[in-house]
Amino acid sequence: MRIQRISLSKQKKQDQEVDLSLLEPLLKKYKGKKGNLIPILQGTQNLYNFLPQAAILKISEETEHKLSDIYGVATFYAQFRLNPVGKNIIKVCHGTACHVQDAKQITTAIKEHLKIEDGQTTEDGIFTLESVACLGCCSLAPVMMIADETFGKLTGKSAVKIIREIKKKENN
């Protein structure tokens, strides 16, 4: 179970900045439809990049879903995040094929370079490091994905190089 995902203490002041009016069209679209909770949460995450507490409260007020149910679903699925993330999510693939091709060294090298642990965000908010189960590009293992771009046949060094270049672009 992914219990490490539940970390209420990290719910910082982020909620003040949430513009809840963005949620209206989404709620209108799915209101009253059966099986709508997951699409609503997916839509919410698309809007804010994570699930803000205030948004979850609003969803519970406006739909038939109980707060506990929403929280249950949000913590069950790997897709949902309860904390804000960096601008670029680095998804390092740890599927079987990548594991066999030593994906561990990719994560280790990135961790060393960015000085963060798996699942954490850098202080400047540019990167979040995540390990994922499989990106489905097994023949290019080891693989990582940043935004929509997939990088294959990596080494620790080349992965760090890619990250350095992205950071350079962000700083300009």
Partner: protein, 592 residues
């Protein structure tokens, strides 16, 4: 003379390998009118090891080129325009002559993948031109009854390709026999098995074949609504499915009174998964479609009696549906010609790991593992020794090299302790540690356990702790026995397939590689030299030439030494990634 036609293989992994850039380059060349060419795209051709792939049709001769980047493609066009002849050494596949890649294609029989890599998946006309939607038309025109359709599928011997291996025809018959006006048909495209990408390739490459399979299934069982439950990690597959569904609606393959069949109404939509491996289990999948936590429930009642919204529901896997139209069109007899007595037809495998030719292959059941790895796959990378092959992902097991005569069918694979699974086939060489492999899979199942059954929730965690301890050199006598005991308890006491099969990777590695476990526990050694905590990296002074390649490649700058001086690894900064060992050209790094 006809224009040159270039077709780029644009599956997800093709794009990752650079096919997108090639396609952009071609578009640019075309708009700048530098060359008079036609361009098009297709999806995964299966030869992932040679991506990016570009097919050129020159005067009705077709050549498939491998390893074409945006620079090479221009040279390729120039050559073809000038000579109308291929650049032979780049060709991977053609009818004109034999290439070194023929071994990869020759042993394959393409039924489920019949159109993948041949058609543009975003155009329904191209699917129709390949006898697409002919099967459902055949049913409509010849007034073939639902019972007859089910009988055909039964006769074909088709079994569920998601891993369970249950007879598809039987499943359909149960759903047919459930009396209810409202029934559902679901396509399980929640391909969570790490190391498998068959379903993704199929959905990206030929979405209509899956949709047609579902339409036929809906007709057979009497369903009026269809759901394709696809994992959100496959954005391209979802996009192409939605395009395909819209086209099918417009052409009248979906909707009301489909193809004039009275009262045959069907709508299909895509539901995005949210990332939970357990949702591959059918009752958990149904819970997830209903918007709840994807937790499995007790069976019976089976979904065929009470499934989605408590109505009779039929669930099949992507590959199963892709086979259906072919069977209806060519007959059950034709299909059952392939395969063994109890496993008919073909199976798609995602061949990956330490293999020379990795990719997507479709082989007739009954082929040996040896043939897949050494004939199709071209053997092991860098001339290393073949150690084992992992089948069935986290639910499966490792088959050791000495059992490579095992034939691929449900019963033979099960007899080894592995399972056929959905088709992930990860090849391992002598540098893969089997204890670490078991730990890897347990780490996965432990995270993905939904938490409903105690033994699965806590048992997998305890097993993971033991395995982690062993790989870190802190294994104790009795650990192996404890792992075995826990394995049987978890298998006995779990509700769904995830828990029942979670111990398989551990049990098979203990069965075939017990000596590796013992080496870790008793001698604190990793025979494969893979468990980093049991290793130290050192420079062998007499072999070191001071070329600096290790220092350049060290991600933590833990290697001291300038040009032409003997290097030194600082153990406190070394993260034991092994980069220096792989990069050194002079065998000057020692692992001990």
């Amino acid at each position: 003379m006809e224009k040159l036609k270039l077709i780029v293989g644009m599956g997800s992994c093709g794009i990752a390998a650079g096919a997108g850039k090639v396609f952009e380059k071609l578009k640019q060349l075309k708009t700048e009118e530098l060359f008079d060419i036609n361009i098009d795209q297709t999806s995964c051709i299966g030869m992932c090891y040679r991506e990016p792939l570009v097919e050129i049709i020159d005067n009705n001769h077709s050549y498939l080129y491998g390893g074409i980047d945006e620079n090479k493609v221009e040279e390729l066009i120039e050559h073809h325009q000038k000579f109308h002849l291929p650049i032979k050494e780049w060709v991977v596949k053609t009818e004109e002559f034999t290439t070194q890649d023929n071994e990869f294609t020759d042993s394959q029989v393409k039924i489920a993948l019949r159109n993948c890599g041949y058609i543009n998946p975003e155009r329904i006309e191209e699917y129709e031109a390949q006898k697409g939607y002919q099967s459902i038309k055949k049913i409509a025109e010849n007034k073939i009854s639902a019972q007859e359709v089910i009988q055909s599928i039964l006769d074909s011997g088709l079994r569920g390709r998601g891993g369970g291996g249950f007879s598809t025809g039987m499943k359909w018959r149960f759903a047919r026999n459930s009396q209810n006006t409202e029934k559902y048909i679901i396509c399980n495209a929640d391909e969570g098995d790490p190391g498998a990408f068959m379903d993704r390739s199929l959905l990206e490459g030929d979405p209509h074949s899956v949709i047609e399979g579902m339409i036929i299934g809906a007709y057979a069982i009497g369903a009026t609504e269809g759901v394709i439950y696809c994992r959100a990690e496959y954005p391209l597959a979802i996009k192409r499915l939605n395009i395909a569904l819209e086209q099918a609606r417009q052409k009248g393959y979906l909707g009301k009174n489909i193809l004039g069949i009275q009262n045959f109404n069907l709508n299909i939509y895509v539901k995005e998964g949210a990332g939970a491996f357990v949702c591959g289990e059918e009752t958990a999948l149904i819970a997830s479609v209903e918007g709840e936590r994807g937790m499995p429930r007790k069976r019976p009642p089976f979904p065929a009696a009470s499934g989605l919204w408590k109505k009779p529901t039929n669930i099949n896997n992507v590959e199963t549906y892709a086979n259906i139209p072919w069977i209806i069109l060519n007959g059950a007899k034709e299909y059952s010609k392939y395969g063994t007595e109890k496993s008919k037809g073909t199976k798609v495998f995602a061949l990956t790991g330490k293999i020379n030719r990795g990719g997507l292959v479709e082989v007739p059941m009954g082929i040996t593992i040896k043939d897949i790895i050494f004939k199709l796959g071209g053997g092991i990378q860098n001339g290393k020794k073949f150690k084992a092959v992992q089948l069935g992902g986290p639910s499966g097991g490792c088959i050791p090299a000495y059992l490579d005569d095992t034939i691929v069918d449900y019963d033979s694979v099960n007899a080894t302790g592995a399972i056929m699974g959905s088709g992930g086939m990860v090849v391992m060489d002598e540098t893969t540690c089997m204890v670490d492999m078991a730990r890897f899979f347990l780490d996965f199942t432990q995270k993905e356990s939904c938490g409903k059954c105690t033994f699965c929730r806590i048992g997998t965690k305890r097993m993971l702790e033991i395995l982690t301890r062993i790989t870190e050199g802190e294994g104790k006598e009795g650990d192996i026995e404890k792992l075995e005991e826990l394995s049987y308890q978890i298998k006995e006491s779990s509700l769904c397939g995830l828990g029942q099969t979670a111990p398989n990777p551990v049990l098979t590695t203990i069965k075939y590689f017990r000596n590796e476990y013992e080496a870790h526990i008793r001698d604190k050694k990793c025979p494969a030299k893979s468990c980093t905590k049991l290793l130290t990296y050192e420079v062998i002074a007499e072999n070191c030439t001071g070329c600096t390649i290790c220092a350049i490649n060290c991600p933590t700058n833990a290697i001291d030494g300038g040009k032409k001086t003997i290097h030194f690894i600082r153990q406190d900064a070394c993260i034991k990634c092994g980069a220096c060992f792989t990069k050194c050209n002079f065998n000057a790094i020692k692992i001990s």
